[in-house]
Symmetry: C2
Amino acid sequence: MTGKPGKVTQREIARIAGVSQTTVSMVLNDRDGSNIRIPDATRERVRRAIEQSTYVADPAARRLAGLDNKILGVFTYESALTPESMDFYGPLLNGIERAAEGLGCDLLFFTSSPVEEGRRRLFHRNTRLRLADGCVLLGQQMDGDDLERLVTEQFPFVAVGRRDETDAHVPYVGIDYGALTDVLVARAAELGHERAVYVHRDRDSPTARDRLAAVARAEGGPLHVTPAAVGDDLSGLPGLIAGAAATVVFAEDAFLLEDVALVLGEAGLDLPGAVSLAALAEVRGHRLNERPLSGFHLPRQQIAAEALALLQQLISTPPEEHGTVATQRLLQGEVAFGDTLVARGGAR
Amino acid sequence: MTGKPGKVTQREIARIAGVSQTTVSMVLNDRDGSNIRIPDATRERVRRAIEQSTYVADPAARRLAGLDNKILGVFTYESALTPESMDFYGPLLNGIERAAEGLGCDLLFFTSSPVEEGRRRLFHRNTRLRLADGCVLLGQQMDGDDLERLVTEQFPFVAVGRRDETDAHVPYVGIDYGALTDVLVARAAELGHERAVYVHRDRDSPTARDRLAAVARAEGGPLHVTPAAVGDDLSGLPGLIAGAAATVVFAEDAFLLEDVALVLGEAGLDLPGAVSLAALAEVRGHRLNERPLSGFHLPRQQIAAEALALLQQLISTPPEEHGTVATQRLLQGEVAFGDTLVARGGAR
DNA sequence: CTGAAAGCGCTTACAG
DNA sequence: CTGAAAGCGCTTACAG
């Protein structure tokens, strides 16, 4: 088909070096066990033949014969390289690239996966998934069936972001939002606040649940937090906050927090004097009237690196020993105190 | 090695459907020629067996048997996904991703290539290059030997950016810097300028030569341009400009132009009143005292798309007919008039 | 120490 | 219309 005229094979090398093709393979793969012992002379002869040719092993054949390919798959549920998605994917991809370099692996991006309902499908007629030794999955929303199928087929993979939607045991590397939320809540309490509202989108994801759980945990403490699920219309918010006598608003993410600030500002509230604001998510790059938002800083590059490391571990560990490795890892982020969570009644 | 227990093969499907493995392959690949005619009934039976299983063809085996893989390689001479490189690579990668989606191809990034002297090496012991149907090469500086070897081995590839360092016929998609430079020079002449200096790094690349050639062409026209090769120390520049009685400075790229502006500003020159400034390169994202720079806008996304299209064409055209396809393509960029190239003597 | 053989999963002539 | 066979380039038991 492609007609590979310039292609040199092991057989050719074997002919030149005057040995069998098997021996060439042995030399190439440094097979030097107890049964096989290749004298340095032969070894040298083969080496030289290879150097003088343009031989490179055919990765397809290697793979077919059962070896690792040193290829890691990267599957993103949305396009990863658009300017808009760079905000989220950029640091992750950067981390993945670096980690792959370190591991000596190439990266296969499954850009061909057909898009359905705005999401790519992992499994399809012509998926090249199997060409990779394993795969990292990225995306805000993942498909539960995909995850289950990967587990049943025992294909090594790691999800970026906490996943426990499924019964299946999904390996992942995520962020401990619960712990971060606890710290931020405690901080608000320290600053004298007693009542807060947590504005969220009522999404059904593991991290959303983590945040809600942390908010619920606050119940017993000095700061009482009322969760409030909202849609696109935030006009009821000022009333709700007044009703709850809240002096702090937490929002699910920085974008939502910005929308909230807009509405509260229009309602004539002094921000953050009368009402402090904080996001329970990454706030890098977000500001409120020049002030850095209070919220979290997430080690996205590190997550990516950790995910690849875990994937590599899964690949090189025989399935029966998978119990040995910690396949669900939560990384600790950092609280960004910022300038929008201030002391209660603080005019500033 | 990886132990693929969940793996379904054509043989398995054949067993279920009660046909031969050959027939399964035929059905899968829609082989429906003159000699082979598979009745709809059999076809249906096979289809159903496939649907009910989790069968997906093994890409390694397909490839080994000589078929396309629908995998396009992406080789960058530097890391592509770092925050710094995003400026240059971002739009290109975005274009590549979109084009690959359109072509139904996956993308293999050769992140494993060992780095030598700050550049990745394309050919090495374990290159997975051959797994791809073809490859796009990106980077400011490419290795001539790499290019020649790709040509001799008849491996389909396309360079992004003009390449004519080698004797070998290198397929590329680039920008017509010469034409753009001509336009910008003409524009400066229109604005009344008669003498200009072209500040460059004296690099030996095709595009550098294109710009120099265009500058030389200006000789006969109303605007006389003196080329000036510079190193890191630009302190001689004000004197040089005064000596040449120049009222315009062209620079090789926007970064260099910024450095030039700094030096001239410190020398007390009014910019752009006394001296107009323009870059013979992309100026998007660059400003001089709030003013958009004069220079070019390059259709980077389009270049990427065009490069992939060309690559696909090369892959699907038998080598003997390669003469038929235009393998060296220059795209027209756009002159960004900006606000730093102003009328001669213009105070503004 | 080294080679002939089987096999990985697929495709494509080639015979029925 | 359909199957048995060869072959893609490699690796790894298995015999010498």
